[in-house]
Structures are given as C-alpha cells and as structure tokens.
Amino acid sequence: MVIEYAIVPFLEWLSTSFVYWLMILGGVVAAALIGSWLVVTLRHGPVVAFRCVGRVLSDTVVDLALIAPRRVLAMAWLAVKESIRRRVVVVFAVFLVLLLFAGWFLDPASSEPARLYLSFVLTATSYLVLLLALFLSALSLPADIKNKTLHTVVTKPVRPSEIVLGRILGFTAVGTVLLGIMALMSYVFVVRGLSHTHQVADADLRAVEQIDDGEPAIRQGHSSRVHKHRHEVTVDASGGVRVELEHGHWHDVSAGQSAGETVYQFGPPRGRLVARVPVYARQLRFKDPTGEDAEEGVNVGDEWGYRSFIRGGSLAAAIWTFEDITTDRFPKSSFPDGLPLEMTLEVFRTYKGQTDDPKTIPGILGSLSVGDPKTGKPIEVRLFTAKDFATDVQYIPRQVETPDGRKLDLFKDLAPDGRLEVWIRCIQPMQYFGMARADVYFRARNAQFWVNLAKGYFGIWLQMVLVIGIGAMYSTFLSGPIALLATMGTLLGGFFSRFMGDLGAGAVMGGGPIESLYRLVTQKNLIQDLEPGLKTTVIEMIDHVLEYGLWVTSSLLPEFDRFSFSEHVAKGFDVSGNLAAQCALRSLAFLIPVFVAGYLFLKTREVAR
C-alpha cells in the first residue's frame, strides 16, 4: 500500500503536535484578546476596554466550567428532534438509490473488485453524511434566530455554551445513527456484490500426471467462468482439491454428486475482504552501488518520485529497520514457517532479458538478507524472483545460517533489542528494484474485516463531527446561507489544505495565484520564466502576500483527507490504533477552539443575552 506520509509513533506525535497546537491556540487567543481590547479602546478608552475584556474572559471561564450535562442533553435532544423534523431520512433514500444502481458501474470482474466496492461505499457515505452535517449544522441556529424560536430557549436558564454544545452533540448523535445504519448496509452490499461461486465437473478435469500404474492421476482443469475469471483446479490422487488464487481470492471446495458425476462446488470467495496488520519499518535507508550510505536510491525517470531504485549486480541495497520484532509478537505457534515478510517491489529493466522461451521470460532475481548487529553486514536468507504490482510473501526463518556455517537465532542474535534490519538487493546487473518504506512489512496478523470497516466509518464520523462543529460555530454569527457557504468553504479548503500549504510555501510550479492567472491569460507554460521587469516584480510582491495568507489559512484548516481511512480499508490494511487515535485527537484539537469560538460569538449576540 502506498503511504505518502509517515505515521510516527503516538507519543512522539503527541509531544510535538501538542506543543504546536498550544502555540497556535495561544497565538489565536492572544490575537483575539488584543483585537477586542483595541476595538473597545477606540470607543471607551483603554481602562474600560481592559475591564471589558477581563469580564468576558472570566465569564467565559465560568460559563465553560459550569456547563450542566442535563441542560446540554436537553439541548441535544432538541437538535435531534429538529433533525427528524427536517426529514434527515431522505439521506437514506439517496443512499439506497446509490447502492441499487452502484452495481451497474462497479465491475466485479476487475482484478481488485473489493477495492472498487469498498472505495465506492466509503466515498458515497462520506459525501452524503458530510452534506447532511453541513446543512443541519449551518442552517439550524440561524433558522431558530430568524423564527424567534430561540427566544423560548434563551429565556430559560441555559448558557450559550450549552446551546452550542447541545447542537453539536445532538446533530452528532443523529449523524452517528445514520452512519451506523449506512455502514451496516454497506457491509451487506459489499459482501453480496463480491459473492460468487464456481463449479467444475469431473469431465472438465484432465489427467496430467500418472503417479503409479493403477493409481489415479493428478487431474487439472478450470472452473466455470464467473465475474470474468476462472480458477485452476487440481485434484490429487487422494481426492484433495486445490484451487489457485485468481483475482486476489480463492474458494473452499466441496465434492458432490450430480447425475452420477462428481461435481466440485465452490464456496464463497476467500481472501478478498481482509485487514492485514502490518509492522512497518521505522526507517528505510540505502547503499549506493559502491556500498556507501546514500540518502536515497536512483530515479529511473518516473514522474512520481515515491519509490527509489537500487541497481542490480552491485553493492546497492535497500535496508529497512524494524522495531519491536520479538517472540511475543511473532510466537512460534502462530508463525511456524518463520516471520512473514510481505513485499511489493517494483522492477525496472534496462533490457528485456532472455525472450526465447515461448512460455515465459525469467524474472529478476533478488536477495533477501537480515542485518547482523555485531558486524553490520547482511546475512543472506534466500533468493527470490521479484513480482511487481503484487504482494509477494517471503518467510524469514527463526534460525539463520551464516556463510561460515554458524546458526544464529533471529530474535536473540539478530534482533536482541527488537531491532531487525532487512536488506534487499537486486542480483542481476543492469536491472533495478524500486521500493518505498511501506513496500516491505511484516504481517503480524489478520484483523477482523468488519472491525476494520467500522474503523473506516469512524474516520468519516470524525469528519462529520468536525463539519458539525464548524457549521455550528459559523451559524452563531452568520445568517443561514452565509454560514452554509462558509462551512462549505472550510470543508473544501480542508480537503485542499495540503495543496494550499504547498502553494503558500512556494513549492508549486507556476507561482502563486496572480502569477498563475497571468500565465493562464497569456498562455505561458509553467516552466517558462516570466520576463524580468516591473510587471513581474509587482506580480511576485502581491503573490508573496497572498501566499503568506494561504499558508496561515492552510495551517488553521483541518486536513480533512487525513481523517479518511478508506484507502486502508479498501486495500485490505488494518487501520492501526495509533492512526485512529491521532486522527481522533486531531479532530478534538480543532473542535475545542471551534466550540469556544461558537460560544463567544453566540454570547455576544443580542438574542443570547
């Protein structure tokens, strides 16, 4: 699976992110206080302004500290009732229609249909739920203010903080129920969509090997064709049936009789809906062709620089450093064949190789080694033929033999502190292997697929809660349509915040907004330098200001796509607790200031006093 940004350990992430969050929060609070003080100073003088600001601060602390759960729940229940009144159930109808017709557009005959099905349900749910959250949260409070129904609430002993929090919680509760039901429907849709069976009759099998005179032969054949694929079936002398992997799955087979003939009936597909639990390396480093340390490998001309390549027939190597490789994690009872190392290497050939054999062209050989911590040198474990764009499983034995015949224990001798180095080299000269850090990992176990799907929906839930929070915050001081637009803008900005950040940092080819506009109008390509002069200087100056603004905005916006786990779920990788926890905390980190801001905005409105 492609992971373009590193997921650092939780505590390490927390320590840096928390400080960063406090700094930004401090900056925003300070700016708000100074701004308020200045505004009041202009009207009433500095002393009064100081007193005013102090009072608001103290009121805020009191209001937040004295939030009563009972009143919050009452407010939340009001929000739930309002949502039901607004017929949120329409979303179900839309979702059902989508699922009904989705089968037309999703190709179960694709080589990875599970990916397509899962991506579809997660994306469709995400769009629908976010839209629902957007409308509910942004339009609710302004409508209440406009209809004066809020007056009946504010006349009761209820704090503005409770009104805002109640709305957020109420809409979240409604969204959560909706999301839960949609998750259930999605699960059924995916399982049913991918479900299929095959058949193969005795007559379809042909003998390929005579074991002994009088003994039955090994027979082979192909199953019936369903979803545009067939499986190769081998029936051995004892009647055992083996089904080859095809389109990423296999089937269990049972033999039965039909019209006096043995018919092998296939069970449901297996191996498609999985949740691998990978142990990724802490670090990937390289050796260059002379054996010296290098920051990265070679670029073979790919536009996408995700993978680095190492040259074959040289000392070039890619070295993954894993941590926490212990017997507790990989007990012999569960891993009798050794530690399963899964690899998705890319192969780049500078020549085609031997093409005379009409059946095949030999693959490129690689060597898999583990690092000896005492010598720092690799000990070869096995040779392998690289398979690109597919997951290849190689096992690292628990006992490794050195070239001089010594037998080393993998855990005691090679990973005494849990740190294990895995070396990969390309054996054949002038051919290359490409790799990234996440391309090689140990498969620690398989998690439950449905739990992983639930985690995928948890990611959508986090996005939903954020949108509700932001929508509720805007709705405290903007009219309905404007709050809707502002929330939508924040949502879109959040999805593109990384791009905005890059643009703000000047890392995007083609310059800032004004330069891009100028290039568009004058049809200049991105590479061409602008001619020096006053015009270019002015464009660049304006862009500098705008880029700074973009950078600040992107830093404040939540990166919505970071909360999506659909790629993990669709590609069959477990969403780790670490990742889920980071996203949950990140979501909370945005929600707290958003809630406080919402409370302050509502508090300053006439209606809430």
Partner: protein, 506 residues
Amino acid sequence: MSPQNTFQRKILYLVGIVVLLTLLSVLGRPATRGTEQAQDSPGGYLAQLRQKSGLSQAELGQIDPTSETIKLATFGMRGVAANILWEKANRYKMKKDWTNLAAAVRQIIKLQPNFISVWIFQGWTFAYNVSVEFDDVRDRYEWVIKGINFLKEGCQYNQHDPRLRWETGWTLSNKIGNSDERRQFRSFFKADDDFHGDRPLAERDNWLVAKSWFRKAERLVDEYGVKMKGQGPLIYRANAAKCQMSYAEAIEDDGVFGEVARQAWKTAADEWQEYGKIDLPGFGGVVIQLNDLEEREATAEKLSREMDALQEGLRGQIREEKKKTLELTNAQREAWETPPAERDTAQMILADEVEQLLKVSDPEVARRITGPARKQAQELAKRSAANEAVALAIRKARQIVNFEYWRMRAALEQLDDTLAARELVYDGSQAFYDGDLDTAKRTFEDGLAAWRKVLDAYPEMLADPTAGDDLMDVIERYRQILELRDEQLPKNFVLQDVIDRYANRE
C-alpha cells in the same frame, strides 16, 4: 401593474409556449417505419438531420442503459465530469494504480461512449503503456488483451467507425506480433480460450485475427463511405494483405513449413495481387492501381516509339544537343562514365541524376516536329505524358508500401527451394540452441546452399535491401556457429555476393 396588464402578459406567455411547443413538435418529430397501412416517415427536420449525420444513438451503436443513466445523472455536465475523470485517470497512471485507472477509464467511456479518440487513446494506454510496466510477461499479455478487448467494446458502441476496427487490428498485429515478447504473446494468444471462444485452433493466430479486423474496417469504408481519418487508403488497404504475409512469416518462425506454409504464402500472394487492383488516389491527383505500372510504362513507351517514327532520329539529336550544353560536376561525370555494373551506390544515384537531365521527354520531341505530323505528335505526347504521370504515381506509391519486394517475396517463398532453405535454417538454429554445433553447421550449410539456388533463380532478390538484410541475419548466425567451433567463413563462401553487397551497409 394593473390586473389587465398581468392578464395580457399571461396570455402572451401562453401563446409563446404553444408556438414554441408546436415548432418543437414539428421539427423534432421522430422517424417512423412504414406499415401496411402507412408509409415510412422520415420524421421532422431534426430527426432527418440526425439520420443524415448518423447521430442517433441507435445509429451509432449499442445502447447501454448504464451509459444512458450516467449521462442523465450528470445533468448535462458530462463534459466536465469526463474532464475530472480524465484528470484522475492521469493521476492514477502516474501513481501506477492500475485498478483505479481501469475503473476511471470505464467511467469516462460510459459518459462519452461515442468519443472515438477516448477509446483509441485508452486502448493504447492499456495495451502499450500499462502492459510494459509489468515485469511478468503473463501480466503484460493480460494488459495487452485488456487493451484489445477495450477497443473491441468500443466497436460495439460505434458500429460504423472504421478507425476503432483498424486500431483493434493494429494492436493485435503490432503489439502481439512485433513486440520483443512476441513468442510468449503469440503462444498465450493461441491458448486464450476466453478471448477466442469457439474459434478453431488453426485460426487462433494474432495475424489472422488482426487481418479480419482490418477487413472489417475496409468494409465500413466501402459500405458506409466513412472516412478513415488520418490514413490514406494506400496504407490501410495494405494492412490485411500484409497481415497474411506476417502470418506466413510467423508460422515459419514457429517451425511450420511444407504445404501449410506454402498455402499461407500463396494466399498472401493472391491478396497482394488483389490489393494491386484497388483504385487508389495517387500522387498528382491521379487514380492508380498498383498492378498497372508495367502496362502504363509499356503504353507510354509504345506511344514514344510512334512519335519517334514521325521524325526519325529527332530524339537522339535533341539528346546530343543536351549533352553538349550540359554542365556536370566532376563526380557526376565520373559516375556517368563508369560502366553501370561497376558503379557503387553513390555513383548510381549520380548517374541517375545525369540520365534524368539528358532524358528527352515526348513533349520536347513533339515541340520540335513540324509540318502535317505536328498535330498527331502533340496528341501522342499528351497521351504518353498522361501514362507517364500515372506510372510515376504508381512508382511512388509502390515505394511507400514496398510493393515489389512483397510481391516477389510472396512468389518466391512458395518455391520448394525457398521452403527447404527456411526449414533447414530453422532446424540449424534449433540445433544451435540445443548446443549441437555439428548438426547446426551441417544443416546451416545445406540451408545456405538452398538459398544459393533461390538467388540464382531470382537474382532480383539480391538487389532488394530488405531481402539482403534477412539473408545477412542467416549468415551472421552461421558465422556464430563457426566461431564457436573456432572456424571462419570459407573463402569460397556460397553467399559471398550477399556479404559483399550488404556487410557494410548502414
């Protein structure tokens, strides 16, 4: 605004709506098929225009409910949606996410099933660009077939488009038959039940299947008058027959000789002959048939002779006058004075230039004839020039498709000696791969001797560079065998003339 004004405005709107709907109804009336009681109706103006331009969906090809639904669901924004999907497809391709690339492309074609360039571009992407990214040759084949199936699907949606048929034929022939992996691709193709269905084993050859697709494209051009955009008929009409030649070559590469190979070459020769009979647009706007060159040249020569008879010796006289006034470079003079058999390639070109300068055309002769024969001379010159123009156009066209080489090749490949020569060289190569150098050498020598006989029977073969290069490959393999035995080519080597002519050719 008074109630009366409002009422008038409403009436006006109503009248406007009625007029517009009536107009729309008349213009958009659909065409109907005739019954016993009523005749065919061509429909309204819009229906007729649609019919004329072949724009109705039923006319264009298969109607797919999925495609129609997705088109409707985009509310007229399908261009924008296709653009976004195209962008996504590019990103998936860059990130080598083939599953999503295929899914995005499928969505694009659902949105725009009659946009031919999309089918061609993405079919090419699958068969050529994606397939080479895979290391395992079976994966590569799978993507080549995906590309071909994609193009075939495009044909179903676009039943009158010859380009898609041509592209399908091209991918089947060029990608499967000419890649570095052609041995593997051809063997996988033969065994591909999913692709062929119940097609007999003997017909499961990529070249033969490609030929059938090229023929389909030609039929669409002939039957519906649809143009093959971007290609002239000289080229695309040659494809089917060339596929038959390539088929014959390929089965010999696979070790199939004897009557099967002879029959394959005979079919190729017949099809090439048929290709030579097709009316083609030629250079200078004339209509040509490639087979006609010899006849046109003979007619032009006959007419020249008739003109020469009107005033004997005049042509020679004009040529002598030209010789006296002609200014030649030293190189041209030296080349021209060298006997033709001793000229090297550069000299041949220079001597040809001089000959062209000295050539006396029929109109030149006609202009010098005076008296009562002048009118007849001008008439003869005109007819001769017309024939010469057609002959020139045919010569140019023949050069483009290497017509004469393939005609000669298809004829001589049917000979017993050629078949024997090829079989012996094949057997020798097999022995060489098996490491049996004695057998390889002996068989090669028999094969080379058989080639000698062919060259003696068809000396013009030696003059053709393509045939010369083919023979040089055979000689090189023989030289390899000798080198492994620490031997060298014998001094009186049987194909020394081929080496002399082609060994140092660039």
